[in-house]
C-alpha cells in the first residue's frame, strides 16, 4: 500500500504536537520553556503541581482512551463487516452510561471511585447479552449490530427515566454522559493502563484473523479459522476496550466510528497496518479535542465528547458524500 514509514513520521509529529498542546494550554498556560525547566528539575513548584497532578494524567488518559475507543471501533467494523459499526452504535456505551448514571443519581453518596467499575460492568452486561443473542441464535453480524441497537435503546430509555426522575442533579450525569476528562487523576490512569498494555499484543494477534474474516464466513472457515470462536474473542476484546475507556472518560462518541475510517484511507484495509494507525489517530483526535474543549470557553470546559462529535460529524458527512 502507500508508504507507512512516511505516514508514521507525520502521525508521530501530530501526536507530539497534540501532547505538548495538551500539557501547555488550559486555564493556566504553561509555556514550552517552563515545561522544559520543570522536567530538568528546576521550575515553579505550583506549575510542577499542575503539570504532574493534573495535566500529565489527563494527557495520558486522552491517549489511552482515544486509542482504546478507536481500536474497539476498528475491531467491530471488521467483525460486523460494516463501516458504520462502532461501540456507540451497537449499544455498548449506552449500557455503561446507564450503570454510571444510576450510581451518580440513585446513590449520590457513593464514592466517585465506584463509577468506573459500574460503567465497566454495564458495558460488560450489554456485551454479554449481545454475545448470548449472537451465539444462541447464530445471528449474522449485521443483525447483531441491530440487536445491539435495540438493547442500547432499552438502556437509553433507562438513562432517560433516571435523569428525568432526578432532574435537579441531572447535570452531573449529563456531563458524564457527554464524555469528559475533567478532574481525572493518576488513579484513573492506573485503572486504564493494564488494559491498554494488554490491548497492544492482542491487536497483533487478532489482525490477521480480522483480515481472513473479511473474506466471508465460508472462506474463513475453509482457511481453518473457527469463525464462531473468533467472533466471540473479537467481541470480548471490543467490549473490554470500550468498557474501560467509557468507565474513565464517559461516553466519548465518534472516535470509534471515524478513526478506523481515516486509518483505512491512509493504509488500506490490511489490519496489520491499519490497527496501529487507528490507535494513533484515536489518541491524536481525543488529545486535540480535549485541548479545544479546554480553551474555547475557558475557564469553563466543553466536554471532550461534544468536541469529538463536532469534529467527527463533518468528517462523517464528508464520508457519506464521498462514497457515491
Amino acid at each position: 500500500m502507500r508508504r507507512p514509514k512516511y505516514l508514521y513520521g507525520v502521525l508521530a509529529a501530530a501526536l507530539l504536537t497534540a501532547v505538548m498542546l495538551n500539557l501547555m494550554l488550559g486555564t493556566v498556560s504553561v509555556s514550552f520553556r517552563q515545561i522544559g525547566s520543570i522536567f530538568m528539575g528546576h521550575g515553579d513548584s505550583q506549575l510542577l503541581n499542575i503539570l504532574v497532578n493534573y495535566r500529565l494524567p489527563r494527557m495520558l488518559l486522552c491517549l489511552m482512551v482515544g486509542g482504546c475507543l478507536a481500536l474497539a471501533g476498528a475491531i467491530l467494523q471488521g467483525l460486523i463487516q460494516n463501516p458504520l459499526a462502532s461501540p456507540d452504535v451497537i449499544g455498548l456505551s449506552k449500557g455503561a452510561g446507564l450503570a454510571a448514571v444510576m450510581i451518580i443519581l440513585l446513590f449520590p453518596g457513593a464514592p466517585v471511585g465506584i463509577i468506573p467499575w459500574a460503567a465497566f460492568i454495564g458495558a460488560s452486561i450489554m456485551g454479554a447479552a449481545l454475545m448470548f443473542i449472537a451465539t444462541r441464535f447464530e445471528l449474522k453480524p449485521t443483525s447483531l449490530a441491530l440487536s445491539g441497537m435495540a438493547l442500547g435503546a432499552m438502556a437509553g430509555a433507562g438513562i432517560q427515566y433516571v435523569t428525568v426522575k432526578h432532574m435537579n442533579d441531572a447535570n452531573t450525569a449529563l456531563l458524564w454522559l457527554a464524555g469528559s476528562l475533567w478532574g481525572r487523576s493518576w488513579e484513573h490512569v492506573w485503572l486504564l493502563l493494564p488494559w491498554a498494555i494488554i490491548a497492544v499484543p492482542l491487536l497483533f494477534y487478532l489482525s490477521f484473523r480480522l483480515d481472513v474474516l473479511q473474506l466471508g464466513d465460508n472462506a474463513a472457515s475453509g482457511l481453518g479459522l473457527s469463525v464462531r470462536h473468533i467472533r466471540i474473542v473479537l467481541l470480548t476484546a471490543a467490549v473490554c476496550l470500550t468498557g474501560i475507556s467509557v468507565a474513565v472518560a464517559g461516553t466519548i462518541g465518534f472516535i470509534g466510528l471515524i478513526a478506523p475510517h481515516m486509518a483505512r484511507k491512509l493504509t488500506g484495509p490490511i489490519h496489520k497496518h491499519m490497527l496501529p494507525v487507528t490507535a494513533l489517530l484515536g489518541a491524536i483526535l481525543v488529545t486535540f479535542s480535549d485541548v479545544i474543549g479546554r480553551i474555547v470557553i475557558s475557564p469553563r470546559e466543553v466536554p471532550v465528547g461534544i468536541v469529538t462529535a463536532i469534529i467527527g460529524a463533518p468528517y462523517f458527512l464528508y464520508l457519506l458524500g464521498k462514497k457515491k
Partner: protein, 336 residues
C-alpha cells in the same frame, strides 16, 4: 370482489371496530386517571359538557388535551412508519430508526437554544426541516452503499441518529438553563399537552393522514417493487416525493409536540400487516387507530410506573418496542 377480498374486508372491519373501541376506552381511562381521580360517569359528564364543576375544569383543560395529543401523535407516528415501510420495502423503516425523529429533535433543540421565546407553531417548521435533513442523510448514506440490505440501511439510520442526538446532547449540556423542559421532552412526553399543542398538531396530522389515504392504492403497488409499479403505470418519482413529504409532515409535527417517541412507527404497521395483509387501503386506517391505542395506553402505563411522578411515555414505548425489534430480528434471521 374476490372471496379473499371479502374476507380481508371483514377482518379489517372487525379490527377497526376493536381498535376504535380500545381507543375510546383508552381515551376515557386516560381522562379519568390522575392526581384528582375521577369516576367514569364524572368523565362522561365532563366530556359531554354539563355543569361547571372543578372536575369538569380539570377534564377540559388538562386531561382531554393530554389524551388528544397522545392519540394524534400515536396515529401520526404510526402512519409515518407504515408509509416509510411501504416506500422503502424495509421492515425496519420507521421515523426513529431512519433518523427522522433525531433530526427533528436536533432542530427543535437548536431553535429553543438560539431563539428562546419561539412559539410552538414555529417550532413545527424547525421540526420539519430537521426531519427532512435526518431522513435525507440516511438515504444518501444508505443508497450509496453497493450491497445494501434492510439491516444495513437501518444501521446507517442508527449512525445518523447517533450523530444528531450527540449534537443535541451537546447543546443541552452547553446551554443548560433550558435543560429541564427539553430533557423531559426528549424522553418523549405527552403529559403537559395543552389545547394549544392540539391546535398546532391537528392540521398537519390530519392533512398528512388524508394524503396517506389518498396514496394508499399506489403504496400497495409500490410495495411490490419499482419495476412492477412502473409496469402498472405508476409515476414512481411523484409517489415517492409525495410520500416523503407526508412522512415529514406527520413525524415532524408529532415530534415537535411530544418529542422523539420511539418504536410506535416501527411496531404498529408490523402488527397491522400481520392482521390484514398487504393492502395499504386497509393497513393505513388500522395503523392510525392502533397507533393512537398504543400511545394512549402507554401514557396510562407511564403514570403507574412511579406514581405520582409522571414518567415520560417514550420509555414505555421503548420498553415494548425494543424487545419487539429483537423478536423481528431473530425471527427473520435467515433472510437478512
Amino acid at each position: 370482489m374476490t372471496a379473499t377480498d371479502a374476507v380481508t374486508r371483514r377482518v379489517f372491519a372487525s379490527y377497526l371496530f376493536i381498535g376504535l373501541l380500545l381507543a375510546a376506552t383508552g381515551f376515557i381511562w386516560s381522562v379519568s386517571l390522575g392526581v384528582t381521580d375521577l369516576r367514569w360517569n364524572d368523565v362522561l359528564q365532563g366530556l359531554l359538557g354539563g355543569k361547571e364543576t372543578k372536575e369538569q375544569l380539570v377534564i377540559s383543560t388538562i386531561r382531554v388535551p393530554r389524551a388528544l395529543v397522545a392519540a394524534l401523535a400515536g396515529a401520526a407516528l404510526a402512519v409515518a412508519g407504515a408509509l416509510m415501510q411501504a416506500m422503502t420495502r424495509n421492515a425496519f423503516a420507521s421515523p426513529q430508526i431512519f433518523g427522522i425523529n433525531a433530526g427533528a429533535s436536533f432542530f427543535v433543540v437548536l431553535f429553543i437554544v438560539f431563539f428562546p421565546g419561539i412559539s410552538s407553531s414555529a417550532l413545527v417548521f424547525a421540526a420539519f426541516a430537521g426531519a427532512f435533513m435526518g431522513g435525507l442523510l440516511v438515504f444518501i448514506l444508505g443508497y450509496s452503499n453497493d450491497h445494501r440490505t434492510p439491516v444495513q440501511l437501518a444501521l446507517a439510520g442508527i449512525a445518523v441518529s447517533m450523530l444528531l442526538s450527540a449534537m443535541t446532547e451537546g447543546f443541552i449540556v452547553l446551554y443548560d438553563n433550558q435543560t429541564k423542559n427539553v430533557l423531559f421532552w426528549l424522553a418523549g412526553a405527552v403529559h403537559n399537552g395543552t389545547w394549544k399543542d392540539v391546535h398546532t398538531v391537528i392540521p398537519w396530522s390530519l392533512t398528512g393522514m388524508m394524503i396517506a389515504l389518498l396514496l394508499s392504492r399506489s403504496l400497495t403497488i409500490l410495495s411490490l417493487g419499482d419495476d412492477i409499479a412502473r409496469g402498472l403505470g405508476q409515476n414512481i418519482l411523484f409517489i415517492r416525493l409525495a410520500v416523503s413529504c407526508t412522512v415529514i409532515m406527520l413525524a415532524g409535527s408529532a415530534v415537535s409536540i411530544v418529542g422523539p417517541i420511539g418504536f410506535v412507527g416501527l411496531i404498529v404497521p408490523h402488527i397491522v400487516r400481520h392482521w390484514v395483509g398487504v393492502d395499504y387501503r386497509f393497513i393505513l386506517p388500522l395503523t392510525a387507530v392502533f397507533g393512537s391505542v398504543l400511545l394512549l395506553y402507554a401514557d396510562i402505563v407511564s403514570r403507574f410506573i412511579s406514581y405520582p411522578f409522571e414518567s415520560p411515555v417514550g420509555i414505555v414505548t421503548t420498553g415494548i418496542g425494543a424487545p419487539y425489534l429483537l423478536y423481528l430480528l431473530l425471527r427473520r434471521r435467515g433472510r437478512l
